[in-house]
């Protein structure tokens, strides 16, 4: 760069930059030299000595609280040193009005209170002033009347302050206040301000007691009004020229914003009197309206002012002036003119036309009708009772008939009579039977209301008849058709109040019956109904016939269909379906017959069809009738039927009822299976043994709950096995679940983890899976043996309702032996199972073998059940409950099995575990067999038990059963707890003792 620069050659001297002389300064200098003085005042700018604008801000012309000119700092205010308010706090500042007043206002406030010229709206003082002015002027100007003019003759105009102000601002009469020019607006404002100021000072000056504060400022302002004075003194007051002639309110000027119309109007007014005046007026109007000629095509918005741009430059000058604008403010004038026109019409309406002298329009007149000679100007009613009828307009209340049937008949009879022959009869009979108690109703006694009602009804009836007769008499008139008559013609049935759909309650029944009635109503009136009515294929069974009719109705009519009536509601689904088929076939045959022999009367037709097609459905009908009877029997024996379900109240509900949530801390329940399948499966059972139902469902629910418990148990047992010997694996109580449900995944997972943990657990895992297989097969075989059909994928086994099976016959005497056996068993278990331990492969092999031998196992299992049950712990249900309660007994039972299994080498531990399943099943069976009477108390106790148990469990085990559900905590717990478990396992009997004690304590 340097080298480049060196290449350049510089000529001349560079222009010197005047850094010190700012442009502002220059400007200021220029202004000072008077350059800007030529501008109008409002365009001049006030600057300080530096040339900076003195006033700036949002309001041009105002001052701004800017930094440069007004206050001392950039922040806007002079910074102050902080003074703590701690010392002088709570200082109540006495604020007065003077704190907020400006100096001039203060001066005014301090001054006397009185009327000031400024607010002299009525203009008395200004009138005074004006007079002085006028006098002064008069002296100066030459006048026609020499000498002083008396005040009475020449009254100077008094103007209000507003007007004065406006005039001072440059406003003239006949001009709109708003100036079209912004500049002029600005100007006016300035003028006004100036005038205001001047005026106020003048005012102050005028007061003899004016404060000294403004005294010095007066002399230079005083001349201001005098300057202007010459201006407005020249004017003649407009007001004098315009006396009030209109009907507007005082001070209201309709032409305030449109002065051109004023001129127009005035011109119109003067037009009639003097024609020569027009020119002047036009000129006036032109003069008055500064921008009068507005371009025709361009509208001016409501918010816009007329501006210079809006003026029509090309206008010829008179186009729109000539357009006549009707004066809206004067409604009376055109009317008068109209009247005048009317008057003139008589002479010559239109030029070139003349009014006709003779018109052929004549008002036609008609003579009044001739009144017949014998006319009596009184109306006679056709029947005397009509007049009676007029009075009781309101029908009496619907009153039920009195209990006495005789009385009812009497009342009704009399009512008809009275209705027919008038009130006289009533009076007569009342007189006659004054003391007859039977006719007490005439005198307001018993049944009077009913009588009144009946009488009214009869009269209505008679009235209607009379009307109908009248109608009939009138030949020309079209007979009035009522809705009823139309309905009759169309075959509509009126909606009856009979509510036969009895299967629902008042309101719903209403709805249903209405729907059925409606379906009745909107149907063809035709013969089909009759046909159906006569065609009664199920005459022997009226209920069924009714159903059949209903069916037909539904079939042909469509429309609203009520749910099955009460008749069908107590039928089973299957029966209903069968019946439906039956009805279909019957309906078909009837239809066929109808098509074939149209002409044959329905009864005959049906009998013929019956003859032809009878074979098709009569047997079915008979059968069905029988079925229905069966149903009837069933209903009587079946109901009331009790079922139990699990129901989960919400925690808040329990809280509100001040109860402990029975499901506290439990996971949300699975959605209740309400499938049809469920009910269908259990239906036969419930029919056979309704009492059993209780227990059954109870158990079902029970088992679900046990599920939780047993799972926990299972895990515990697995621990035991791991630590002691893989003797047996506790299966979940829900066999079905174990086989079919996803729980297996669960298990698989656990076993997998076990593998990682312990090599021995591998064996266990294998066993587990095998067990499952065996259990499945075993179930099948068991089912066969029991004569039950075991569906492949049906939750049949989950329901423990199975029939009281052959197992019931298990001999009790066997138990004696088994007690001994079990006693022996406990001691010998460990040896026996211990032998199995070393060779898991062998065990598997054994299992496989055992599958084929399953046939034997069930019976053994059951024997085992009984033996264990009776031998182990005393009596039936009690023991059962204990079993459910504690899994330890399970293990005990298993050991017992193993004791037995010692003899039978083929039976391995796996079988024993599946045996255990049967075992439990058996118990359930036993449970369902328990006497019905026992059941309720039993179950309630059971609940109590369960609750306490669950609570105990909750406390003893790790509080949340939800944890028990999740798999991982399970393992954790297992690890942590295994030692204690192990130690406990050894002393089986001790634990049992402890358990018993605990129970005692509980009791």
């Amino acid at each position: 760069m340097d080298s480049d620069e060196e290449d350049f050659v510089f000529y001349g001297t560079p222009i010197e930059r005047e850094e010190d002389v700012s442009s502002r300064k220059k400007k200021a200098v220029a202004e000072a030299s008077g350059q800007l003085r030529t501008l109008p005042a409002w365009k001049q700018e006030v600057t300080d000595e530096e040339g900076r604008r003195r006033f700036h801000g949002a309001f041009t012309g105002g001052f701004s609280a800017g930094y440069y000119n007004t206050v001392g700092s950039k922040e806007g205010w002079t910074p102050q040193t902080f003074t703590s308010s701690r010392k002088n706090r709570a200082e109540v500042k006495q604020q007065s009005l003077f704190n907020f007043l400006d100096d001039d206002e203060k001066a005014e406030m301090e001054g006397r209170v009185g009327t000031s010229m400024q607010y002299d709206t009525f203009g008395f003082t200004s009138a005074e002033l004006a007079r002085k002015q006028a006098e002064k002027e008069q002296k100066q100007r030459p006048s026609a009347i020499p000498g002083p003019v008396p005040d009475e003759v020449v009254l100077p105009v008094t103007e209000s302050i507003g007007l004065t102000l406006l005039q001072k601002m440059g406003w003239r009469h006949g001009r709109s206040i708003k100036s079209s020019h912004t500049d002029s607006l600005y100007n006016a404002k300035r003028e006004a301000r100036k005038a205001f100021l001047a005026f106020s000072f003048a005012d102050v000056d005028a007061q003899p007691l004016g404060s000294g504060l403004v005294e010095d400022a007066t002399d230079n302002i005083v001349d201001l009004p005098t300057d202007d004075g010459s201006q407005f003194s020249k004017k003649t007051p407009v007001y004098m020229l315009n006396p009030k002639q209109d009907l507007h309110g005082l001070g209201y000027d309709p032409y305030k914003n449109a002065p051109e119309f004023r001129e127009k109007k005035r011109s119109r007014l003067s037009e009639s009197t003097q024609m020569g005046h027009q020119d002047r007026v036009l000129k006036d109007s032109l003069f008055g309206f500064k921008s009068g000629r507005v371009a025709p095509g361009f509208g001016v918005g409501a918010l816009e002012d007329l501006d210079v741009e809006d003026e029509d430059v090309y206008a010829s000058g008179y186009d729109f002036e000539e357009t006549y604008v009707e004066d809206v403010e004067e409604p009376s004038r055109p009317k008068v003119e109209n009247l005048k026109m009317l008057d003139r019409k008589a002479h010559d309406v239109l030029p070139g036309f003349s009014a006709a002298t003779k018109s052929d329009f004549q008002l036609e007149r008609f003579d009044p009708p001739v009144i017949p000679q014998n006319f009596v100007p009184h109306h006679k009613f056709a029947a005397p009772l009509e007049s009676d009828n007029m009075a009781p307009n309101l029908p009496p209340h619907v009153v039920p008939p009195p209990g006495d049937n005789n009385l009812k008949i009497l009342i009704e009879g009399l009512a008809t009579l009275v209705a027919r022959s008038g009130k006289l009869l009533e009076d007569l009979s009342r007189e006659k039977n004054q003391f007859n108690p039977l006719f007490g109703f005439l005198n307001g006694g018993e049944g009077h209301e009913y009588y009144a009602r009946k009488l009214w009804e009869e009269r209505q009836k008679r009235n209607d008849q009379g009307k109908q007769q009248l109608d009939a008499k009138m030949p020309r008139k079209v007979q009035k058709m009522t809705a009823e008559s139309r309905g009759q013609i169309l075959g509509e049935k009126p909606i009856e109040r009979s509510l036969r759909a009895a299967n629902s309650s008042g309101i719903s029944a209403d709805a249903i019956s209405l729907s059925s009635n409606l379906s009745d109503t909107f149907t063809k009136p035709a013969s089909r109904n009759e046909l159906l009515e006569s065609a009664k294929p199920f005459q022997d069974d009226p209920a069924k016939q009714e159903r059949f009719e209903q069916f037909l109705k539904e079939k042909y009519h469509g429309g609203l269909r009520p749910k099955d009536g009460s008749g069908a509601s107590n039928m089973s689904e299957a029966a209903r379906a069968r019946e439906r088929l039956e009805f279909e076939s019957v309906a078909n045959t009837i239809n066929k017959g109808k098509l074939g022999k149209e002409s044959i009367p329905p009864n005959e037709l049906f009998s013929s069809t019956l003859a032809t097609a009878g074979l098709q459905f009569t047997p079915g009908a008979a059968e069905l009738a029988k079925f229905g009877q069966d149903d009837g029997i069933a209903t009587t024996s079946m109901y009331p039927k009790r079922e139990e379900f699990q129901w989960r109240p919400s925690p808040i509900l329990c809280k509100r009822f001040d109860l402990i949530d029975p499901y506290m801390g439990k996971p949300p329940p699975p959605p209740r299976a309400r499938g049809k399948l469920d009910s269908l499966i259990f239906l036969p059972d419930s029919v056979k043994a309704p009492k059993l139902e209780d227990d059954v469902s109870g158990d079902r629910r029970h088992s679900r709950q046990e599920g939780h418990i047993e799972e926990g148990k299972e895990m515990v047992d697995q621990e035991i096995e791991v630590d002691a010997e893989p003797e047996n694996i506790e299966r979940p109580v829900d066999l079905y679940k174990a086989i079919f449900s996803d729980d297996s995944d669960d298990e698989a997972e656990t076993s997998n983890q076990n593998v990682a943990e312990d090599p021995q657990k591998k064996v266990e895992a294998v066993n587990t899976t095998l067990n499952r297989l065996i259990a499945g097969d075993f179930l099948e075989s068991l089912g066969k043996e029991l004569g039950l059909e075991v569906p492949t994928n049906m939750p049949c086994l989950e329901n423990k309702t199975s029939n009281p099976a052959k197992k019931d016959t298990v001999p009790i005497d066997l138990t004696e032996k088994n007690i001994n056996q079990s006693a022996n068993g406990t001691s010998s278990t460990s040896d026996a199972v211990g032998a199995d331990l070393p060779d898991p492969v062998l065990a598997v092999g054994n299992n496989n073998q055992n599958i084929s031998r399953e046939g034997r196992s069930p019976r053994e299992g059951t024997i085992d059940i009984n033996s264990r049950k009776n031998g182990g712990r005393g009596t039936g249900t009690e023991s059962y409950r204990d079993d459910v309660k504690k899994n330890r007994f399970e293990t005990e039972a298993q050991t017992h099995i193993h004791a037995k299994a010692k003899g039978d080498q083929h039976r391995s531990k796996n079988i024993s575990s599946s045996d255990d399943e049967i075992d439990r099943k058996g118990r359930r069976r036993h449970r369902s067999r328990s006497p019905a009477g026992d059941a309720s108390s039993d179950s309630s106790e059971d609940y109590k038990d369960r609750r306490s148990r669950s609570r105990k469990k909750r406390s003893s085990q790790e509080k949340s059963s939800s944890k028990r559900h999740s798999k991982h905590p399970k393992h954790r717990r297992r690890d942590s707890r295994s030692p204690s478990r192990h130690s406990r396992h050894g002393s089986e009997k001790e634990r049992r003792e402890a358990k018993r004690e605990k129970r005692k304590y509980k009791d």
Binding site: G403, R500, G506, I652, L653
Partner: protein, 299 residues
């Protein structure tokens, strides 16, 4: 002999309702009575003096049931506007409206502590509403019913409801079970015996059935009246010696509890008797009818 004690004398006729009275209920101590009806009002009466005390108006449709708390401070009512109204008795203002039922609400009851309102609706559900919180959501919905639920009874631990599906279901909150007793006939109205051991269910086959709650056995059937299409109430007398029930022909029937014989029947109303309520202690009964009156009967 017992016949004498039965309330058969008409003491007062409480008139004021402009339409059918759908329910009439004593309060818990029998001092006052409440009635509600098709004229969309609830009326508070002193039945012993036959005085109308107050009218509660806010319902937009007919009011089907009303119940008052034990301390007589709050009311709950329900009806055609699908809401349960929770009232303040003294001011007559609605404190809360519980919305949630999908259709008309047939019956409503407070629990013992007046902390919840249980309502039964035509929408086959039973809903429990919390009076203590400001929430207007139901805290429990029981929708195991197959048809419109008509009537509710509450014990300390149970919710009992009768439905048109023919069942009377007992929901035991303490145990968490549901007991369903199927009568095979639409159940109109249920009422609990005073000892709490039995349920009297009015079925639409014109039969009242007495059910043993613990066993689910049918103890007795009471016939003779007409109840085929209307919701006519039934109740047991204060001594549990008789069963009282209304009939659609305006009669009131009294049956002997044990041998199911009609002890007495008389015409109480001109039209259908909709509700029968028995005084908890005295031999006094109020009945309501479609004829827009509530009548007070005493022995």
């Amino acid at each position: 002999m017992t016949d004498v004690q039965l309330p058969k004398q008409k003491v007062h006729v409480l008139e004021g309702h402009a339409g059918a009275v759908l329910a009439a209920r004593f309060n818990s101590n029998g001092e006052y009575a409440l009635s509600c009806g098709k004229d969309r009002t609830i009326r508070l009466w002193n039945p012993h003096r036959g005085i109308h005390i107050k009218t509660y108006k806010a319902h937009g449709r007919e009011v089907r049931d009303v119940h008052v708390t034990q301390d007589n401070s709050k009311l709950c009512s329900c009806g055609g506007d699908r809401q349960v109204f929770y009232w303040d008795v003294s001011t007559g203002h609605v404190i809360r409206k519980f919305r949630g039922h999908d259709s008309e609400v047939n019956a409503v009851k407070f629990n013992e502590y007046s902390s919840v309102v249980v309502s039964a609706g035509y929408d086959k559900s039973l809903r429990v509403w919390d009076c203590r919180s400001r929430s207007t959501e139901s805290i429990q919905i029981i929708d195991t019913f197959l048809d419109s639920v008509m009537s509710i009874c509450l014990t300390k631990t149970e919710i009992i409801a009768g439905s048109v599906d023919g069942t009377v279901r007992t929901f035991d909150i303490r145990v968490g079970r549901e007991i369903s007793d199927n009568f095979g006939q639409p159940v109109n109205c249920i009422s609990l015996s005073n000892d709490g051991n039995c349920i009297l269910a009015s079925c639409l086959d014109s039969t009242l059935r007495l059910l043993d709650r613990s066993s689910g056995e049918l103890l007795q059937e009471y016939k003779g009246h007409i109840c085929k299409s209307f919701k006519t109430d039934c109740c047991l007398t204060n001594s549990d010696a008789h069963v009282a029930g209304g009939s659609e022909d305006g009669y009131i029937y009294f049956w002997d509890l044990v041998d199911a014989s009609v002890v007495s029947s008389f015409r109480a109303h001109d039209l259908v008797v909709t509700s029968v309520s028995y005084h908890p202690k005295e031999s006094c009964m109020i009945t309501s009818s479609v004829d827009s009156t509530v009548r007070v009967w005493k022995a």
